[in-house]
């Protein structure tokens, strides 16, 4: 009952307006590659210092949740993830937009983002202290395997090209090694230039890897970027169709939201791993596995619900343990500290008013995503589809330059973005997937830190290999990794043997499936 009282604080007109403003700004920022939630939060944090603490936090939470959702727009409409969390959304989002279902894809992304965001926020509200203990079970070895799980899952998703996917992921890991070493402080792969000492900025790298190949493809062919079919059946929000698809994918939706929240709890893991794990789970559970990557709505349902669920999950260690899981969490944590709020398990009792108002604001902001997202989405798809290439190409190019420059006000980031983009394009041209490179770059530091720390502990204990496989969580993750890598090969082997043994039955089955 007391909690409901705190919720009424969040419903004050000022807080409602701030939440609405935050979601709208966050969505637009997230939709533009290079302009991240971290940047917008960092810019707006000082303004919140003069506000009432609860109002300021409501606005920051709204920007964060809106930005994470906004990443889906660029992923679906331009094949470029606005945020790292939206990498997996490109797999099915862009093919859907390409075939004329962009409005449906955006509506689905909006609905499931709201569902995922609410799941994460409700779990934060009801289960924060016990969930925080889960995060403490993850040591260096578990983090290493979690990062490797993300990389192997994306490699395994490269159908028929698993080895190429693995090599691409390893290439991404090597890119993440450039600069000062995470552990040890060595200068690595800098080729004697000062520009590389700081390493390759993840966002600049992502812009290059995704945007530059898109630009090359746009100018290379005369085909339209998107080709929306004409007619009333494809116009509007397509809400009825979206709800019907959600009805068929309800288990996928709930599973992805819960898994997204749980992964969000792990500091550093974030939306990129969550969306990949849930995407892979959705593909495995689906009867129509081959349609994934070709515009299956279930892919968007899995990734978008999971990455928005990580917002609530990420606040669990931030609020209970004072360990921010992501850079935006760290900024919000800083804002909380500036407001004089003491972080820790007692936050939910001693400073319940601000904490619960903040969570209520997060829930409100998530609900605001529905009208804001549907409204923006309705026009975004048509607008992007109607923009001629002669305007789209220079506009995307300009955004890539501004986006990569503004991260650190560094010209070298733009150069690195372009170089990585050209490399990604060449690699794509010779049949290697580029998403594993991006994920390798994102997860590289987590993987290396976990690996080296486990190596050090193992060496001190005299059992390096054992240390990597000691805990049940590590063994569980390793089992999933092995299954992910060997699963497709074993499945096709099993199918081939079955075909040899029962050729007539198998032929009948394949006919029936057609």
């Amino acid at each position: 009952m007391e909690i409901l009282g705190y919720f009424s604080n969040a419903l004050e007109p000022t807080n409602l307006l701030l939440a609405l403003f935050g979601v709208a700004v966050g969505t637009l920022i997230g939709a533009l590659p290079g302009l991240s939630a971290t940047m917008s939060l960092a810019v707006l944090v000082p303004f919140t210092f003069t506000m009432d603490p609860a109002s300021g936090l409501v606005m920051l939470g709204a920007i964060y949740t809106g930005a994470l959702y906004g990443g889906a727009y660029a992923a679906i409409l331009v094949n470029t993830p606005g945020t790292p969390s939206a990498i997996a959304t490109t797999f099915d989002g862009f093919p859907m937009a390409k075939r004329g279902d962009g409005a449906l894809a955006v509506t689905l992304a909006t609905l499931v983002s709201v569902f995922g965001g609410l799941t994460g926020a409700l779990m934060l509200l009801l289960l924060a202290p016990p969930l925080a203990r889960v995060a403490l079970q993850f040591g260096p070895a578990e983090y290493f395997w979690l990062a490797i799980l993300g990389l192997t899952l994306i490699a395994a998703l490269s159908v028929g090209n698993q080895l190429k996917g693995l090599v691409a992921a390893l290439f991404g890991l090597m890119l993440s090694m450039v600069g000062v070493a995470t552990v040890g402080g060595d200068l690595r792969l800098t080729f004697g230039t000062n520009a590389l000492i700081g390493g390759i900025n993840v966002v600049a790298g992502l812009i290059g890897i995704y945007c530059i190949p898109v630009l090359f493809d746009l100018v290379r062919t005369a085909d339209p970027h998107l080709d929306p079919p004409q007619g009333s059946h494809v116009a509007g929000f397509r809400l009825r169709e979206a709800f019907s698809i959600l009805g068929r994918n309800k288990f996928n939706l709930v599973r992805s939201s819960v898994v997204g929240t749980l992964i969000g709890i792990l500091p550093g893991a974030g939306g990129s791993i969550a969306s990949l794990i849930t995407y892979s789970a959705a593909q495995r559970a689906s009867k129509d596995k081959d349609s994934f990557g070709k515009g299956n709505p279930a892919g968007i349902i899995a990734t978008e619900s999971a990455n928005n669920a990580t917002v609530g999950g990420g606040f669990v260690p931030t609020l209970v343990l004072g360990i921010p899981g992501t850079p935006p969490d760290a900024i919000i944590l800083g804002a909380l500290l500036v407001q004089g709020i003491k972080i820790g398990p007692t936050l939910f009792t001693e400073q319940a008013e601000i904490t619960y108002t903040f969570i209520a604001g997060l829930i409100l902001a998530t609900l605001f995503m529905l009208p804001v997202g549907l409204l923006i989405g309705r026009y975004a798809y048509r607008s992007i589809a109607s923009i001629p290439k002669a305007a789209l190409v220079p506009s995307i190019a300009f955004l890539t330059v501004v986006g990569s420059y503004s991260i650190q006000n560094n010209w070298y980031d733009v150069v690195i973005m372009l170089v990585l983009g050209v490399i990604a394009w060449l690699i794509k041209e010779v049949g290697y997937p580029t998403s594993p490179i991006a994920l390798g770059l994102v997860l590289g530091s987590i993987a290396e830190q976990g690996f080296v720390q486990t190596f050090l502990i193992g060496r001190a204990q005299g059992d390096i290999v054992g240390r990597f496989f000691q805990s049940p969580i590590s063994l569980f993750l390793v089992t999933i990794i092995v299954m992910g890598l060997l699963g497709p090969a074993l499945r096709s082997l099993w199918k081939a043997r079955r075909r040899q043994r029962h050729p007539a039955t198998e032929a009948g089955r394949s006919e029936a499936s057609k």
């Binding site: 090694m177 690595r188 002669a390 789209l392 006000n409 372009l418 041209e429 080296v452």
Partner: protein
């Protein structure tokens, strides 16, 4: 020749990269080198496996399909022009200034991307709106978001 190149050149490049990373790790401390070496070894092994598989497919089928071949035979002229404009843009950004270089690059990229019949009015409209957008974004960056853009000798 193209088929051989697209199937064998990438894994060979990755093997060369892993050898480079492995040898470069000689300069690092034990802590700094353990991860690069492990990943370099993994990359070399995977690349060798790709080579073996490509050779086996080549032997079995007599030829392998090249992704470039599958993708059609569109000209590379426009992508290369785009790359040149991008390179010049980045170079000019620091020398003549962000706004001017971006405006010039915008015009050049518009012309590269234009596929339809030459329509001066339409192109002019795109350029005017685009350049207006560039000035707007530059103002937003430098005055609101406090991101100082390169000024150069012009602006």
């Amino acid at each position: 020749m193209t088929l051989l190149l697209s199937n064998f050149a990438p894994p060979l490049c990755f093997i060369a990269l892993s050898v480079f990373v492995w040898t470069d790790a000689d300069r690092y401390t034990a802590l700094g080198s353990v991860f690069p070496r492990t990943m370099a070894a993994a990359m070399a092994i995977c690349s060798v496996l790709i080579l073996i598989r490509s050779a086996a497919v080549l032997r079995a089928n007599g030829r392998t399909s090249s992704p470039a071949e599958r993708g059609g035979t569109e000209s590379l002229g426009r992508p290369l022009s785009l790359l040149v404009v991008f390179g010049l843009w980045l170079f000019a950004m620091n020398t003549i200034g962000f706004i001017v270089s971006s405006a010039v690059a915008f015009v050049a990229l518009t012309l590269i991307a234009e596929r339809e019949t030459f329509a001066p009015k339409r192109l002019l409209l795109i350029m005017v709106v685009g350049i207006g957008g560039i000035v707007g974004v530059a103002a937003l960056m430098s005055d609101v978001l406090m991101v100082p853009l390169p000024r150069g000798i012009l602006f």
